[in-house]
């Protein structure tokens, strides 16, 4: 069981530049599961994603991603592991001097030994999956925030990674597109067994797609609760997580 988990976090502490923001993050995630990270804005969800992926080093505790123990890994090992996962940044972080198509092509050009034409076709397919078939030759500055998010998702999927981190993928999307995105996430998981870690504020969507949920409690500065999202709907679960789920459900 231990070795099979794709993501392991034991008493993990995360933060910026030596400043600890969140501590005691404890959970394990098996492959093919969907994990949602929730909590009030500014509580450290994005920071936690950076640490879980190995982009930043943990400030304490232990964490494993794709079987690599980040606390003892060398820079080269971390680089190799990062290559095997996809990441959508909260601000999309598209390469501003490349078109959307070139953005999706870049990882493939660097890491796939396929002819140009094939790479191009693959990139177009990934962009079509997120509904951007018409905007492939636009520059990132020429599209809306929601479109940038979707292009970032297409880039995160470029190399068919085993593990994808999505930081607020549905923020800025209309309900229809957001619903399609949920479907895409489920389909990725069901077809390719992709593990997905996402930050979201949308309770209905979390209830629909997530298997597990991490609630971060900013007042305590630590992980508040971990479990299947449905558990938090019941009274008697973690009070703040319950408030988060039930409040958003009413609205």
């Amino acid at each position: 069981m231990t070795t099979q988990d794709i993501l392991v976090s034991e008493g993990l502490a995360v933060g910026h530049g030596g400043n600890v923001i969140m501590t005691s993050i404890d959970f394990r995630l098996a492959p093919g599961r969907i994990l949602a990270i929730v909590g009030p804005s500014g509580c450290g969800k994005s920071t936690l994603m950076r640490s879980l992926s190995g982009l930043d080093l943990p400030l304490g505790g232990r964490s494993e991603v794709l079987g690599l123990d980040l606390a003892v890994a060398t820079a080269t090992e971390r680089e190799g592991t990062l290559r095997r996962l996809g990441f959508l940044f909260q601000g999309s972080a598209l390469f501003s001097s490349l078109t959307l198509r070139e953005n999706v092509e870049l990882p493939m050009r660097e890491f796939l030994r396929a002819p140009r034409r094939e790479i191009r076709a693959l990139a177009e397919y990934k962009l079509a999956l997120v509904g951007l078939a018409d905007a492939m030759d636009k520059m990132p500055a020429e599209i809306s925030g929601g479109m940038a998010k979707r292009a970032g998702i297409a880039r995160a999927m470029a190399l068919d990674p085993d593990l994808i981190f999505l930081d607020e993928p549905s923020a800025g999307l209309d309900p229809l597109t957001s619903g399609r995105l949920d479907e895409l996430i489920l389909k990725l998981r069901d077809t390719f067994g992709t593990t997905i870690v996402l930050v979201s504020h949308e309770v209905p969507s979390i209830l629909r797609i997530a298997d597990f949920c991490v609630y971060l409690d900013p007042d305590a500065g630590r992980m508040g609760a971990y479990g299947p999202p449905r558990d938090f709907l019941a009274a008697g679960s973690h009070a703040k997580a319950h408030a988060f789920f039930s409040q958003a459900r009413i609205s």
Binding site: S53, L55, G80, L82, R84, L85, F87, A93, L94, E110
Partner: protein, 364 residues
């Protein structure tokens, strides 16, 4: 509500027998009027109103600023509209941010610390570049070759006009100044030696290096700096691509290759510029050219060439380094560009002096 004449905002303080401070607020509060000053002690405060007129956000703002640290604040006597505005802000305040104290000494201390830690990062960065070059040699570096070709064009070919102009003027000025001196000893023919030697050994490389700092180092710093702002560098790292290798190496290689070529070009143009002045009255063209051929040795050409390679590397590295450590803001990117030019030019002049000492030691 402009019908009633506005009365100035008031705040009256009185302390009750039980230690509670009661603050009575009145008058019209708006952002244009100066807010009253108050002084109070203790952590039990009650706010009441008396003839309170119109108010805008300046009143709840004033209350927030003065009383947010009071432990027992009684707002129950305030009009409900005002109370809810104050309470809304109260909820979101967890810890008041300390006002930045900036004594002169403390700031100098901070500056010293900052610059000493930035030297650490500079060495770290140059180490990364060296490591990347090593990996490139064994064919394991991931480099954006598109950027390389692009920079050959923009940092090299596109710089030809400005390099030509400045090289030409440098030669011209040296010949002009030299002639004035040489006429006094009747040795005007040596102006050719002066100009050609100075251009090959010194000025060709120096001028080109400085131009590279002004044109290229600044542009690299703002390119890479703005990629930091938009997290594009992180997006590369998350692909397992080392940004120093991918973005830095192609730029450094392109410039280190182009600056020596530009420098040779500047040297020729400078010698030509000197000829225009020398042959305007004192020398014939063939006299000048004969002297040039005598004066320039392969050795002095080599001196200039080696220096220009170093200067090209310095200019490109300064740009990449300052861009990589740029603060993530519009201001930070601007600062990165400025400091890249300053750092590049300073290092070029310092290394030029070092080269002079070294070449002198070896009689080069």
């Amino acid at each position: 509500m402009s019908h009633a004449p506005a009365s100035p905002p008031r705040a009256r303080t009185e302390v009750l027998a039980d230690g509670t401070t009661v603050i009575t607020l009145g008058g019209d509060w708006n952002r244009q009027a100066a807010t009253p000053a108050i002084a109070f002690k203790g952590d039990q405060v009650r706010l009441v109103t008396e003839q309170l007129g119109d108010f805008d956000s300046s009143l709840p703002g004033w209350i927030h600023a003065h009383f947010r640290q009071v432990r027992r604040l009684d707002l129950s006597a305030l009009p409900s509209r005002l109370r809810s505005l104050v309470e809304l802000a109260e909820q979101s305040t967890t810890t008041p941010s300390p006002e930045t104290t900036g004594g002169l000494l403390a700031r100098f201390g901070g500056w010293g610390l900052e610059s000493s830690s930035s030297w650490g990062r500079a060495f770290e960065h140059i180490g990364d570049v060296a490591l990347g070059l090593g990996r490139l040699l064994i064919g394991r570096a991931r480099v954006n070759w598109q950027d390389f070709w692009l920079q050959l064009q923009t940092a090299g070919v596109d710089a030809l006009p400005i390099v030509a102009l400045l090289g030409f003027l440098t030669g011209l000025i040296m010949a002009y100044v030299g002639l004035i001196q040489l006429r006094q000893v009747g040795a005007t023919v040596y102006v050719a030696n002066l100009v050609s030697l100075a251009m090959t050994r010194e000025m060709g490389a120096l001028m080109t290096g400085v131009i590279a700092c002004g044109r290229t180092a600044t542009s690299f710093a703002s390119q890479l700096g703005s990629m930091n702002v938009s997290q594009e560098t992180d997006a590369l790292r998350v692909l397992g691509i080392n940004p120093v290798e991918y973005l830095g190496l192609p730029r450094i290689l392109a410039v280190t290759l182009m600056v020596p070529l530009l420098s040779v070009f500047a040297t020729f143009i400078g010698v030509f510029g000197g000829m225009i002045v020398a042959c305007a009255g004192d020398l014939s063209v063939s006299q000048y050219l004969t002297q040039v051929v005598v004066a320039i040795s392969f050795r002095s050409f080599l001196v200039g060439f080696i220096k220009s390679i170093a200067f090209g590397f310095i200019a490109a590295w300064a740009g990449c380094y300052r861009g990589a450590v740029a603060k993530p803001s519009a201001l930070g990117v601007g600062e990165a560009a400025t400091s890249a030019a300053v750092l590049g030019i300073t290092l070029i002049v310092i290394s030029d002096a070092l080269f002079a000492v070294i070449f002198n030691l070896f009689n080069f």
